[in-house]
Amino acid sequence: MAPIIETRRLSHVYGIGTPFEHCAIDQVNFQVERGEFLGVIGHTGSGKSTLIQHLNGLLKPTSGQVLIDGQDLYQSKEFLRKTRFRVGLVFQYPEYQLFEETVYKDIAFGPKNMGLDEKEIDRRVHEAAGFVGIAEDALNKSPFELSGGQKRRVAIAGVIAMEPEVLILDEPTAGLDPRGSQEILANIRDFQQANGAAIVMVSHSMEEVARNADRIVVINDGHIAMNGAPRDVFSRAEELLAMGLDVPQITRLFLRLRELGMPVDASVYTVEQARDQLLSRKGGGAEC
């Protein structure tokens, strides 16, 4: 079966013909498989935001192709518009896109544009609000009365309510406190499991990506630098650091231990893996 999203030799050049001409992504081949949780990492200006905006046709490629379910995204206007609902995109700081009088109406904006009937819209709004933990009585409030974290949830619910097959999130936890971040990530995973949707999460935080992603794509300078399971990617920690990216703290600790002469495997990326490895080195010994 074809991947749900595939790009073939996708390039995008900004500001053609001005002094600011700049090639953001260059001949990128990229896939999103059905139902997977894909983490995309890369530092500011690496081209990751440009890449994800191609996946639902917001940006038009300078050259190359975007295939949705094996079909060319630009085959017709109709197909492009439908794809917007199949591939949901949550921008960075999405709370700035809220505009309606009530939370309910704002979440209903997407489904309404899909042309669904009142009953279906109502079901989806309540379900989406449930996924992101918005209480029923908050639905009739103005979105501008809510706290920053709550606003973000409403904005994410607005995209979830379209029930996309792929949910793309650009830095969904930027500017939130650790607890708020974890809750939102848990919400996203709930949605993934309940609907079998694929998730593409762009993030700076290696810890977040390490804990959640099935597969990681590293973008550097408009190219895909790495692509693989978290273990494979984080085992190349030195290369990541050389790209100016971070690695999870526990990986950094193990790298340092290895430098100091301990024969440890530095491809761990969660505290649990680290604990298991250390315990097994003690000869499967007792808990500390």
Binding site: P19, L58, F85, L89, Y96
Partner: protein
Amino acid sequence: MLKDVTLGQYFPGNTVVHRLDPRTKLVMTIVYIAALFIAEGAISYGLVFLFLCTAVFLSKIRVSALFKGLKPLLIIILLTAFINLFYTQGDVLVSFWIFTITKQGVANAFFMVTRIMMLIAGTFLLTYTTSPISLTDGLELLLNPLKKIKLPVHELTMMMCIALRFIPTLIEETDKIMSAQKARGADFESGNLLQRAKALIPILVPLFISSFGRADDLATAMECRCYRGGVGRTRMKQLHFAARDGVTFGIGVLLLAAVITLKIFSL
């Protein structure tokens, strides 16, 4: 699409034109506009055009960038051409149905369109080669005498500076909000006028809210740095006239004199 808006944009560079004192550039722009409106006949237009070409050449600004600035004004330019072409009395060249084209009409249309295009290109060259900060600095110094009649010159130029500074930010913001709403299926391109106007609400509401927020933040930041208007304020970068400014003024005077002389002798 919105990225094409070049109003008030600045292309950094280090050419003679970039280094000129902003006051010189402002005065020269006025001289240039005056010369353009006084000019009559091919020779005067040629002189002003030569002046513009030299400035563009020295500034190393691409001609395509200047033409991009003309694009939004295409309708005005076409309308001017149309009116001048068909509504000028004189020796009839062609006549069909209710339209008559006269010899004078063709000449008028040509010169009017040239005048508008050169006017826009010249003023765009000013903002392309002068950073907003130095532009406002120059303007403030030039308007200084007006402080005598209690005009808040500093405050006005500061407002202009901030407005110029935030044009690109607002454009970027509008682009982002549009993309976000498009991702939720908003449609800005089809429907009748009322539907299209309604489709703007999801853009305008967030844009207003963030603009007010931004204005508030900026005010706080300025207050934190003890900004209290222009009284007793000094500059880090003092503006000084250099030899090149003198030469430029000289050229300006010559240009103006030539155009006026040509007009008097109606050449």
